[in-house]
């Protein structure tokens, strides 16, 4: 039993020729991938993945449907949603700087006045723009992008890993 002593790792026997073979193998693998690259990058602004239907993106308000019950502001875990009075009617406003996109407000709304849109890729140049007042909150947020976006779908491929096929 006492003959079984664990040797320090630094002194373990290595086969130099085997090590050299391993290095050659590594370089050959690198060259193989260099010759036939298997890129899985999504070239984002030109092509984007089509999102599933239940995707929780930005939230929009239907101002005419809202009854001003303040449930959404009460359930909001991040204090993103607040109520404000506009022309004598209570309406929610949202601060996307705080919103965590949990969707509780949409779930709790008794009259379905809030809805999740599938838009998530937006950018703001100013923190004040992150606060949506009821008029801005009342419409779908349009992404002002002029280029051509190809919608693609990710597919698991046996050889490549991930492949992007155009989504019709």
């Amino acid at each position: 039993m006492d003959s079984v002593k664990k040797e320090p790792k630094e002194y373990k026997k290595e086969n130099p020729i085997g090590l050299f073979g391993d290095h050659l193998n590594a370089i050959a693998t690198g060259l193989k991938y260099f010759a036939k690259p298997q890129r899985i990058t999504l070239k984002y602004p030109e092509e984007s993945i089509r999102l599933p239907t239940g995707y929780r993106g930005l939230i929009r308000l239907y101002k005419d449907v809202c009854i001003g019950c303040t449930l959404c502001a009460m359930i909001c875990p991040a204090d993103a949603m607040k109520m404000m009075t506009q022309e004598g009617k209570k309406l929610p406003i949202i601060n996307y700087g705080r919103c965590v996109f949990c969707g509780f407000c949409v779930d709790i709304c008794p009259v379905d006045a809030l809805k999740e849109t599938g838009v998530h890729d937006v950018a703001f140049s100013n923190r004040r723009d992150l606060i949506f007042d009821p008029d801005k909150f009342n419409k779908n947020y349009d992404v002002p992008f002029t280029g051509v976006v190809r919608k693609v779908r990710a597919e698991v491929d046996e050889k490549k890993g991930i492949r992007y096929v155009p989504d019709s």
Partner: protein, 352 residues
């Protein structure tokens, strides 16, 4: 002689043309940007990414490096409080100068007695060993020794740079460089000495003119030299001196702006000059061409060797310092001794 022919004479004078124009500084500047671009693109290809792309999509993002260089040139150079500003600014410039210096004695081609654009300089660069002129910035018969001597100065200036910046990351990087430089200088020295013994000369031009590529005559020396080259110019997997995840950028930590570009260049230039020596010693150099085509052929092969050595970034991670030292002293140093004896035997039997 009229004015044009005088100008032409001095323009094509090898000490100017070879050092400044063609396989010299201008090519180095282009190759520096191309090599960094290639390094990023090759690593991206292997790692399933795309790499630089949006700056000039048609050329695969080649202008990204130009944009980076412009950005560095116009960003602020911060000089820390507790350093000597003169030495602080001087250190990268000295390092760059020392890294380019060995190229002055590396022969890139030969000058035939007539027919070449360099033929007027045949007698000024005459090499009695091969009976031809040698296209290099400065010709001596012992250029192999001189190249090694000039390359051996380089680590001292890295240590100098780490020392003047008064930064502990820089000091640690310099200490690593001291430890590594002992091992890689020994490897490169043994590999070249085994070639010198094998070909019975200390003249690189004569080794090339023998017509036997060194990689066939002594493959062990070629392997040892290549790995020594990777360690010496801190390419992966021996990116130990400027290990970005451990020491910010090693000796160049405190440098910013244009000074940082100057600190980044010497490693690539050193690698490129080592590639020239590797091509001359092991890959047949300029044969079968002479004159300017020979220089172009040597430069092309050197660029391929440089690209292969920057390609290592995509394959390897970084060795620890002790792993690199152990590898170089335990495996490569005995191999270089074997290459020495192998070179002596083969040189005695085959290359009389």
């Amino acid at each position: 002689m009229d004015f044009i022919s005088i100008l032409r004479f001095y323009f094509f004078y090898p000490s100017f043309f070879d050092i400044i124009i063609f396989p010299g500084l201008i090519l180095f500047a282009v190759i520096l940007l191309t090599a960094i671009w290639f390094e990023r693109k090759a690593a991206a290809r292997v790692q399933m990414r795309v790499g630089p792309y949006y700056a000039s999509k048609r050329s695969g993002g080649f202008l990204q490096l130009v944009a980076d260089a412009l950005k560095f040139v116009f960003s602020e150079m911060i000089i820390p409080d507790q350093v000597n500003p003169t030495l602080f600014v001087l250190a990268p410039a000295l390092l760059l100068m020392i890294s380019i210096l060995p190229f002055a004695v590396v022969p890139v081609s030969i000058i035939p007695k007539s027919g070449s654009i360099f033929s007027p300089y045949f007698h000024d660069f005459y090499d009695p060993n091969i009976g031809m002129g040698v296209l290099s910035g400065f010709f001596t018969q012992y250029n192999l020794v001189l190249v090694l001597a000039l390359e051996a100065i380089y680590p001292i200036f890295i240590i100098f740079m780490g020392w003047v910046t008064n930064n502990r990351f820089a000091i640690l990087g310099s200490v690593r460089e001291t430890m590594l430089s002992v091992s890689y200088d020994v490897l490169i020295f043994m590999a070249t000495v085994s070639l010198a013994l094998e070909f019975h000369t200390l003249d690189i031009a004569q080794i090339v003119q023998r017509g036997i590529p060194g990689i066939l005559a002594n493959p062990f020396a070629a392997l040892v030299f290549f790995i020594g080259m990777l360690i010496g110019s801190s390419r992966f997997p021996f990116d130990i001196v400027e290990a970005e995840t451990e020491l910010v950028v090693g000796p160049a930590t405190e440098y910013s702006g244009f000074l940082f570009v100057i600190t980044m260049a010497p490693a690539y230039i050193g690698n490129f000059i080592y590639s020239f020596i590797f091509v001359d010693l092991f890959l047949g150099g300029w044969l079968p061409f002479t004159g300017l085509p020979g220089a172009a052929y040597t430069a092309l092969k050197a660029v391929i060797v440089l690209f292969f050595s920057v390609f290592m970034r995509s394959v390897y991670g970084r060795y620890r310092l002790d792993q690199a030292l152990r590898g170089s002293w335990k495996y490569l140093f005995p191999l270089s001794l074997f290459a020495l004896i192998f070179g002596m035997v083969v040189g005695f039997l085959w290359i009389a």
